[in-house]
Amino acid sequence: MRPRQLLLVIVIALGLAALMDARSLERSAQTSPFGLRRSVELTVLRPLVTVSDHLALDRPRMALDALLHRSDDGGPAPPEPASLPPPQQVRVASSGLRLRLPATGEASPPPAAPRVRTAADPLRLWVGGDSVAGFLCYEMEAIAEHDPALAVRTHFQISTGLSRPDYYDWPAHLAQDTATGNPEVVVLLVGANDDQPLETPGGGVADFATPEWVTEYGRRAGALMDQVRREGRTVVWVGLPVMRAHDFGARMDVIDNAARRQAARRPGVLFLDSRPLFSDDSGALTLMRAPDGVHLSPQGGTRLAEAVLRLIRDHSADPALALPRTGRAR
């Protein structure tokens, strides 16, 4: 085959594939981080989508997607937000896990009767988040294997966060999960993918770490906390561990602080600062991390899982909530 012929084959293959797949490519570009590249991609792809639609070249792909029950939206529609009382008035209501957290400006509630967890009535946890939550989820499941009084459901999704609900709608997915498993405690670790511009309610785009960005991200984090608390569940918001790359760590601090401020205003929300777990006295990163210096190793997942359970126990009236086994063989 001569180069000219080969070039013809490649141009036809890529061009035709681009036309047949234009909608999917546009969708992918829409959910990519805001910026010049996204703008260029959308500028190129929108006319392709138009041409593809006129020539009906997108129909085969749409038919295949329908056959395989594939959709390209960010998930199910989020639940309609009900009107909420001001945060300090909310109490943990229906679950047996009673928190000893005083509401702002009010006296501490009387200590609740201790609840004895059993295999018939385990403490129900939901644990999830982005890929950093991966080994936290796995280790929580491992702990629950050996503790029948603990029931854990997990759900982590790589490359997700709160800044791009058009890519992955965490409030909607979390609502589905909690409706199914009815957890008493929701443990969430997100943020590692959120250091990117996000769209504000007014339709503009806020660059990362600007005041507008911090306000909007805080609003989203707070709304997610309220969504969970409205269902009578406790929220454990796990802060991101210290990162190897200092600049990336600084970005994560912005995200963590935005979430931490929202948690501080809400009784029923516990914020776990994980940084002391993975750094020495000088703040330098220690082991229990994956080679990328971002994700946790299995040992890191265990350490974090133990810390989460300790936090829940320390803030509950349930002295029977035992710590997990330590020193698990690896």
Binding site: P3, I10, I12, I158, T286, D292, R330
Partner: protein, 468 residues
Amino acid sequence: MLFTTVDFAVFFTTVLALSWLVPAFGTRWKLLVLLSSYVFYAWWDWRFCGLLAASTALNQAAAEAIARSRTAATRRTLLVLAIAAGLATLGFFKYAGFFASSLANALGHLGLGAPLPLLQVVLPVGISFFTFQAISYVVDVYRGTTEPASRLDFAVYLAFFPHVVAGPIVRAREFIPQLRRSTAEPRLDGGRAISLILGGLFKKVVLAGFLSTAVVDPVFGAPGAHSRVEVLAAVYGYAVQIWADFSGYTDIAIGCALLLGIRFPANFDAPYAATSLQDFWRRWHMTLSRWLRDYLYIPLGGSRGSSLLTARNLMLTMLLGGLWHGAAWTFVVWGGIHGGFLVAERRLRRGRPRVETGVNRALARLLTFHVVCLAWIFFRADSVATAFSLLGRLVTGGGPASLVTVPVVLAIAAGIGVQYVPAGTVARLTARFAQLRPAFQGGVAAAALVGIGVLGPQGVAPFIYYRF
């Protein structure tokens, strides 16, 4: 950039088109390919372009010095220095953290010391591959089996973007002579190249991607939460996944190289149809196994000494081969399993004629496949303890098998079944494709790309081997 992204498609098409504007394999062509290769490598991490360049300069300097040297002692010294420098660099980037964490764990078990600071070492992409290629070049010059290449030719060889990230490990004497051809307009094996690329994309994106998310990752992540049937499906599924992922990548690399007029050696030959472990290593990651044979096993003495020495050489080769794959004890155990079974196999077969009857061959294939799967458990598990937990679940794990769906079973069956498709069948299909008019070839390729996009999981997963 990953082979399975639109970025790479645009990059490669651009490089290909530009390469046809200059005489193939001339100086301008080589400079274009070299520049493109560094752009490709910089896309991963620009900071390590200097490392690749330094490795190129150091090994070429060593090869030239060895070729000029007149004394055996000097030649040997230069060889040792070049190899030591390469292995030291590889050791620092790849194994420093592993040894630090192993030491920390050991101290912890003894009740000594606090957690050690994590070494701030990022692993350069492809370092294992280009280090091994560089070592093979210097050794071959030392042995006299290849002449030192020109500096430009060696630079192109080491950085050539289709293989720089994850192989195949091409020898200099296989690659560099191809750069010495000269033709204004090469005739390209376009049909075969496109077939390889499309087939590789299907294996990587659809087959490997599906099995990874459907069964392998959930089971290996939490073995205790899954039944024995699910564990078994995950083990078989991982065997198919790693073959599909790696052979798929290799097919794409070979196809891309073909489109640039360069022929790579094959890297896989139906490995799960092997009738023995020795046969398996003649079919799996063939370029690595030949490298280990020629530059480690044979220099150690190979099978020339006593059976005890042969066993030692086999074990050492496989243990180091395991460590090459990753800085973790699981990879060492993986290598140890292969080494141990290779030693046992050699002992059992000594002096006995090979029996090739149908039933015996089928049993041999079955046994070999399951030994390989046993080793894969350790290769995939995040720790030795997790691997043993998985093995334990095979015995004790009751419960439902919700992850073992019809698509999972079909994917595993397809991945193993395709190993038994005759090579002639694949060759005939490729030839039929190559005979189509270019417009029809383009149409078939477009339909294949769309199908792969539909069937593949969301998002882009890297190749398993790319961080080796």
